[in-house]
């Protein structure tokens, strides 16, 4: 198997641009997804069944339907409805955020519920109100336990952002496909893209394991 280094050199700047956009899409979606996910997770935790119901529906829908379908729905349906025209980047970030919020919500819920209820009782018995007890006692402990599953979710999100190529968002995978289309070569574009994704996800997992070690209390 010979490798055509010349076409790789030609596409290098496009891969660089695509990688930056992939990173941008991922960071934006992680941040929005986390905020939305925390909100939905807390909503699902409320004791009132009627309040929890819509949050349950949200999670069921976004976990139970393919991300590709969600991206197409947002791109051709939701975004034109609000903006008047399609916009790939907005659609990609919206779909990825909405999707990951459902998973993040479950991670938050699990993390909070995993904390022994004696912690809440101790905090309340000292005179803290529910919000103070959550903020100073429950969430800091829950957050530590949420890092590994959140790390998983972020890695999945980085990889899933490649689906945005379908709606012509010029991220990493888009350029991989463009290169394949132009030269009818499989190995060069796809191995290059795969390696770049690997570098991104591996860096993220290193970062998270460092964070986890810093938060250790022993």
């Amino acid at each position: 198997m010979d490798i055509r280094w010349d076409i790789l050199a030609e596409y290098a700047p496009f891969f660089a641009k695509g990688t930056l956009l992939t990173i941008g899409l991922s960071i934006a979606s992680i941040i929005i997804g986390c905020l939305l996910g925390l909100f939905i997770g807390l909503g699902k935790l409320t004791k009132n069944k009627w309040i929890a119901f819509p949050f349950n529906c949200y999670i069921t829908f976004f976990r139970g339907t393919p991300l590709l379908v969600q991206i197409l729905l947002v791109h051709f349906g939701l975004v034109p409805l609000f903006v008047g025209e399609t916009n790939g980047i907005i659609a990609a970030i919206t779909a990825l955020s909405l999707n990951s919020a459902a998973y993040v919500a479950e991670i938050f819920r699990g993390g909070i519920q995993s904390i022994d209820k004696g912690q809440m009782e101790a905090a309340r018995s000292l005179g803290m109100n529910h919000v103070q007890a959550m903020r100073f006692v429950i969430l800091p402990q829950a957050f530590k336990r949420m890092i590994p599953p959140l790390g998983n979710e972020f890695i999945v999100l980085i990889k899933d952002s490649s689906l945005a190529a379908i709606i012509a968002v010029k991220e990493l995978m888009y350029w991989g496909q463009a290169m394949q289309g132009q030269y009818y070569r499989a190995w060069e574009p796809y191995i290059t893209a795969a390696l770049i994704y690997l570098v991104l996800t591996f860096s993220l997992s290193l970062l998270l394991s460092r964070l986890e070690r810093r938060l250790a209390t022993e």
Partner: protein, 240 residues
């Protein structure tokens, strides 16, 4: 100081407390004993509303805490609680555990809270553990920190929910010692315990509960030496 009137508590259809009436005077040490499942822990947890009560009234210093208008968080700052499982905050050091509530609830400035925490740690004999995390402490040390943490709010009443039941036998003494000191200083205390020696020595009054009812209450010597009720006799013959 504490007045409990016709207190009833049910979990679903299971009635755990059936009409409890108790009065605790200032500086009094009341010890609650009874077989497991008798409702004594639930009774204690009702006093600071960690359990929502089904019926009846609880007055603390004349304020009805079962009234919906009462700010329960305010009441709880006056009622310290020590748990069987310690419930220290594992993500905070010993001194942070003690300082957290005074700083967040009472807005005590950092230095003042720290000075108070160190004073309390000295009192429970653990000033050298200030910067340690709870996981590195023994059970007895954890419980002493938990007592210091409750005292940091300067409560008027202390509730103890089987404070030595989760401890190895050799550590029970150090915790009871701290509680004895507290009683000597005049703290109003309600103690649920299986330590009959402590009940006899420190208690001003002993309440024997069984089946969600107060079966008998008396000064320790009378209750232990001349129990009136058959159920009390049966229980004491098993534990003494």
């Amino acid at each position: 100081m504490i007045t409990v009137k016709n207190l009833k508590k049910s979990f679903g259809s299971n009635e755990v407390l059936k009409d409890i009436n108790v009065t605790v005077k200032p500086k009094e040490v009341v010890v609650v004993i009874g077989p497991s499942g008798s409702g004594k822990s639930t009774f204690l947890r009702c006093i600071n509303l960690l359990e929502t009560i089904t019926d009846g009234h609880i007055l603390i210093e004349g304020i009805d805490i079962t009234d919906k208008k009462t700010d329960i968080n305010k009441i709880r700052t006056d009622v310290g609680m020590v748990f069987q499982q310690f419930n220290l905050f594992p993500h905070k050091t010993v001194i942070q555990n003690i300082m957290l509530a005074p700083m967040k609830v009472k807005n005590v400035p950092n230095e003042k809270a720290r000075a108070k925490a160190i004073e309390l740690l000295r009192k429970v004999g653990l000033e050298d553990k200030a910067e340690a995390y709870p996981d590195s402490l023994s059970g007895g040390q954890k419980q002493r920190v938990a007592i210091a943490r409750a005292l940091a709010m300067e409560p008027k009443i202390m509730l103890f929910d089987e404070p030595t039941s989760a401890l190895d036998p050799e550590m029970v003494g150090e915790v009871l010692e701290v509680m004895k000191d507290l009683a000597k200083e005049g703290m109003t205390m309600v103690v649920v315990t299986h330590e009959m020696g402590f009940a006899k020595e420190v208690g001003d009054r002993v309440i024997f509960m069984d089946g969600g009812l107060i079966v008998e209450e008396n000064i320790p010597d009378e209750l232990f030496d001349h129990p009136q009720e058959e159920r009390t006799k049966a229980f004491l013959s098993k534990v003494l």
